[in-house]
Symmetry: D2
Subunit: 280 residues, 4 copies
Amino acid sequence: MKFSVSGALSYEVKAASTFILNIHALRTPAQAVLEETFKLDPYFKSEELAWPGENRYVRFEVTEPAYLNINYHAIVDTSVKLTPADQLVDTPVIELDATTLHYLSPSRYCQSDKLFRFAHSKFGKIDNAFEKVLALTDWIYENVEYLSGSTNSQTSAYDTVAEQAGVCRDFAHLGIALCRALDIPARYFTGYAFQLNPPDFHACFEAYIGHEWILFDATRLVPLNGIVKIATGRDAADAAIGTIFGDVRCTFVSASCQLADKDFEPYYYKGDNIQGLTYL
Amino acid sequence: MKFSVSGALSYEVKAASTFILNIHALRTPAQAVLEETFKLDPYFKSEELAWPGENRYVRFEVTEPAYLNINYHAIVDTSVKLTPADQLVDTPVIELDATTLHYLSPSRYCQSDKLFRFAHSKFGKIDNAFEKVLALTDWIYENVEYLSGSTNSQTSAYDTVAEQAGVCRDFAHLGIALCRALDIPARYFTGYAFQLNPPDFHACFEAYIGHEWILFDATRLVPLNGIVKIATGRDAADAAIGTIFGDVRCTFVSASCQLADKDFEPYYYKGDNIQGLTYL
Amino acid sequence: MKFSVSGALSYEVKAASTFILNIHALRTPAQAVLEETFKLDPYFKSEELAWPGENRYVRFEVTEPAYLNINYHAIVDTSVKLTPADQLVDTPVIELDATTLHYLSPSRYCQSDKLFRFAHSKFGKIDNAFEKVLALTDWIYENVEYLSGSTNSQTSAYDTVAEQAGVCRDFAHLGIALCRALDIPARYFTGYAFQLNPPDFHACFEAYIGHEWILFDATRLVPLNGIVKIATGRDAADAAIGTIFGDVRCTFVSASCQLADKDFEPYYYKGDNIQGLTYL
Amino acid sequence: MKFSVSGALSYEVKAASTFILNIHALRTPAQAVLEETFKLDPYFKSEELAWPGENRYVRFEVTEPAYLNINYHAIVDTSVKLTPADQLVDTPVIELDATTLHYLSPSRYCQSDKLFRFAHSKFGKIDNAFEKVLALTDWIYENVEYLSGSTNSQTSAYDTVAEQAGVCRDFAHLGIALCRALDIPARYFTGYAFQLNPPDFHACFEAYIGHEWILFDATRLVPLNGIVKIATGRDAADAAIGTIFGDVRCTFVSASCQLADKDFEPYYYKGDNIQGLTYL
């Protein structure tokens, strides 16, 4: 499926600063970046910190005070894989490889160690991992209010479970924390999302089930197959849109994702015969 | 109903210290203290900080290192009042008197301000205050595990809603916080409790409904009419069994409550025609 | 000393709501309210919940959606008492009366129990209570940045000690928590403050030393003798400017305090021979 | 330098469980493991999840209830590198490689984002990174009390900065959080430590300065050059001694580190001409 994505960010840079952005569409075997432009105005030399299959961080130094405008645009061809639920068999901890095991540990915004009892009492008795994650995603959708501005960059899953309001980032963090508390590896996922309204960068999460990273989105704001993947990480600390070192104020953020193809068939987890969706 | 109650506390006092204990049975028009002994071994002069209807704090100074044993015993005649649910009409904030209004404010262990959304989304639509508090008490009983040693003196309602384990004190704090978040005044209640197993000091809470302080106990560990009241307060910070200033280690705590009457008919909130129970 | 004080508040009331305001100048033997007007536009009937020497809460019901403007104005004659430091002898816990003891307990925004070690390691060795509170007030001034908008209504002393930014409310909460951790009773104090820039309602705190409630202000923003007292309480939960039950949005707040006398001699704690200042 | 190290752990395994241990001495170019035994009693098959230079996790499944005893023993030859302070030049963020950048992000126990102001106000003006980390390590040593049992597995740097007590793990977490808040990459470091009293597994931290991972230990409990390295990670979530999935109770932990060489010259950061110490 082809999408045309754009991201725009503006900053007031008050003194020399270093930026690390993570807004480039990922290049993977299943996600081809057909065209791409990245512009800094005024111009500063930037470098990409990346290797195949991993997040594409772009780093640059703004050497003097400036009003900086950043524009990213790409045409991306994505594909997703659907796996029938009965093939999504639980992967016991004993079979996880070392890389995946890391996604069982608590992280800054996903304190799974503090939500152990909560997760087990609510979802522990559900039969298998896929059903568990569907159930906890539903629980988040039904119990947490999507409310712009209700949280900030310090808000964590532990807060969200009690305060029950947040944005996509908070929904994702809570989903991840609950998965990990249930011994299901889970990671943060950012992207450009089709039909997201109002348009913005989006965050959801993946859980590792049946040797696949299956996508889940407790916000239900967008079709699961309408996302252009930017990055994954333990939580927003790893995959922030922008990490900035210096005296800088963000003045504008926007993101959009348009269909550049015909015949998009939106896919959600609903009805019978739900299949798990994977971005490879 | 007559009860024979006892409390025993031991402390290793390492340096001169001041103690404030709150273990004396309250004297009220509805609770007569028929006999009472209070012993400090070794002996130190103590004074009672009290006035009718309020908590009976006992204060004394241990002027040198000591192994201190405290024993309290009383025979108490209690009575409770039952009010039919249909008379427990909601009291709007506009009608509360100044003293009662204080029990709407958040306190150290009952951060009702942070549980506003949680309380309203779970219990906000229930018809009236009495039903709301019954429902939230049930919710606590069903969702929080009673687990000795799982919490400490810093644990608050905000923790308990996420961690879902605690002791009677934590159950009470969460009940209070949820009531206040729903604009129902609520306060902490301590006592000697009949049939509590293992025997210990007990804590539960009261909510102000229909101009009565109605008792609730989310632990369901004891009959509601089997308690000898010690104290009320905003939370455990006001009604701690012992508040100690100095280098002191508690080495032993026990409490018991035996029936000194015949024919005790245990009362719980269950079945139809629930009536609200009040300790006057 | 005579001051002319004003407070103005505007609210968008979206549905029937109950307000409790605490903006009236306190009437005490040492603070005479010479003239006073309080206006609600549109008009709603209000009542004062008060008794001599205690906070003057005003309560009213707004029975329908409205844009509500509240104006308070008063001419107040205040007096303060200065006590030489050598008379401010420490009051041991054993001598405090029951009312004052409450101000040793931790409260919603002042978790003195969690700052015990911090308080003792920093200030525990200082000779006497007055010097301790001066020292901790200085420490707050030097270590916490006064930064509008850096905190919110949920911020507590425990946050401020780590995050080191806040407004007058946060400075006061931290001062109170540290005093209580050091066994010095302390309470929250609100008022109209002369020379506060920008003008607003002000908060500071009192510590109980030498049988007096001595005023301290870690913000150093105003002269200690330039305040018209509104209220005291355990923390901001007891003495909020406005406590509102209902769907209401605050759209405007202002407060001012002008000298209505000549010859004001500002008083601060500085130099030698510091005397403790009390509002009776 | 040769050391003989031992670790012993006992567990009561109540139901089938999976263990991941991280107690094996690391194998690096500068740390040779000369002899090594690892025993499970009763025996279960285990596998090592590792690759050169990274932590050596050992995983195994205990398939039925058991009293499990784990013993590890090794003879290890370590070497350290000393770099004169004047060569430890600051590495700006623009020059860090992608792997190192991760150690600037906040993590579960090291919420550097919440300690930004604290770190900058206390240490921000110090000239260079090495001096900064020496100063913050001193600050931790002087302000945090080493107190066994004062913290638990949920305690984080944010708590420690306010509560000011902890064990080696907490000292390390606070050091790491402060470094990251100052834009200095930092990571958690575990090992067997010579002269640690009482003997136990030890934790300290490394900061990335002058393109070296320099070791720091705010506890000052052991010579910096007396450690046999086990693991590094973002914080204790990555490098826990044991991570256990199942119903298991730890009943015993011990660790020891004896000199197997002569002529050990203990090295600490003190006096003039401090050189940074690195475990390669």
